[in-house]
């Protein structure tokens, strides 16, 4: 007799909690694509710290030097050296972001790719898990030879130096990526070397170079991923 409530309550709870699982405001839908793999970052804290200092170098360049004359700006180079020597310039993993970028097929020579929101769980510098909840923007899709349309995606690791939670071209340096994807080279004009490249022993810090807008992104090789369905 006394056990009846313990029988009834779970049954009542099951009835009241029936139906579809309900979701909160952070729900993003069903993942259309889930990826997992390693992340490669150039070796050496100095190399990554250089990316941090380059942001200051660009600001300095804009203020004090003329892009048309030369890529070198002695006052800013000095500031860069000081930045690298300061302890504050040590690499901060909290600024690392892994972004999914889609290459634009519609402009000759390429242009800055479109970054798409994707839920990324990354444990730098080792691995990432990425879930994509929406197809690529229509502007980055191109017809495939076997029908359908496809987009070329690049997983790039960058330093969110301006802390806006997004990639800012010319400001946020690209410092690595996920290997094995369709893109084997970094964007032309990027401030850093291709991921996986070793830092030359003779120069511990890479020289800051001006990222020019006209050079844009390289044309990617033919796609190796399954096409997106036609919409």
């Amino acid at each position: 007799m006394y056990r009846k409530p313990w029988i009834t309550l779970p049954f009542l709870a099951a009835v009241l909690g029936c139906g579809d699982p309900l979701v909160g405001g952070a729900y993003r839908g069903r993942p259309l694509l889930a990826l997992e793999g390693p992340i490669e970052l150039p070796q050496g804290a100095d190399f990554l710290a250089a990316a941090e200092c380059e942001g200051d170098w660009f600001d300095c360049f804009d203020r004090q030097c003329d892009l048309d004359e030369d890529d070198f700006c002695p006052p800013c180079d000095d500031a860069f050296e000081r930045c690298m020597r300061s302890s504050a310039a040590r690499f901060d993993t909290g600024k690392l972001r892994l972004g999914l970028f889609w290459a634009r097929p519609d402009e000759a020579g390429g242009s800055p790719s479109v970054q798409q929101f994707a839920l990324v769980v990354a444990s730098f510098p080792a691995r990432y898990q990425l879930s994509l909840y929406a197809p690529p923007p229509a502007a980055v899709l191109q017809p495939g030879s076997a029908g359908g349309r496809y987009g070329l995606g690049l997983l790039l690791v960058y330093l969110d130096t301006d802390a806006d939670d997004g990639f800012t071209a010319g400001r946020d340096p690209i410092v690595g990526g996920a290997p094995g994807g369709p893109c084997s080279t970094p964007p032309a004009g990027s401030m850093m070397r291709p991921w996986g490249a070793s830092t030359p022993a003779s120069t511990a810090w890479p020289s800051p170079r001006r990222a020019t807008a006209g050079r844009g992104w390289p044309r990617p090789p033919p796609p190796t991923t399954a096409p997106w369905p036609s919409s």
Binding site: C18, L22, V23, R28, F117, A134
Partner: protein
């Protein structure tokens, strides 16, 4: 945007007040991928013990109810509509001011324990504050 309203009846017995309500709620949310719209229709009953202090009454009680919830999503991806029932129960407190016979303004609030089905299929209990005026 969100809103919630209720209409109900209350019967004041010598030692207890019983209240029954029909509830409607609406909520919208937006994140980087999905826009969510939620409609809620529910009923609940409450048993309250109220104490009169002149024109003011205050009391405590227990409210139990069940809500039907429909969630729809706007997305370029995949997010089918969801429908579910949510049970709720919890303590409630009430403060009333009755300036004239048959007229009262009340503040009420409490903590609802929600019985919900989680994404993995299991049942869970969430605690959510509730409150309002009327």
């Amino acid at each position: 945007m969100l809103g919630r309203g209720a209409v109900g009846l209350r019967v004041d017995l010598p030692y207890l007040s019983l209240e029954a309500r029909a509830v409607y709620g609406y909520a919208e949310a937006q994140n980087a991928v999905v826009g969510l719209t939620q409609h809620l229709v529910g009923v609940d009953v409450a048993a309250l013990r109220l104490f009169d202090f002149g024109p003011v009454a205050a009391g405590l009680g227990v409210r139990v109810g069940v809500d039907g919830v429909q969630q729809t999503f706007e997305t370029a991806g995949e997010a089918p509509d969801r429908r579910g029932l949510v049970g709720r129960a919890g303590p409630t407190a009430r403060l009333e001011l009755a300036p004239a016979a048959g007229v009262s303004v009340a503040l009420f609030g409490g903590m609802d324990g929600l019985i919900v089905r989680r994404s993995d299929g299991s049942l869970g209990l969430d605690a959510v504050p509730s409150g309002g005026w009327g």
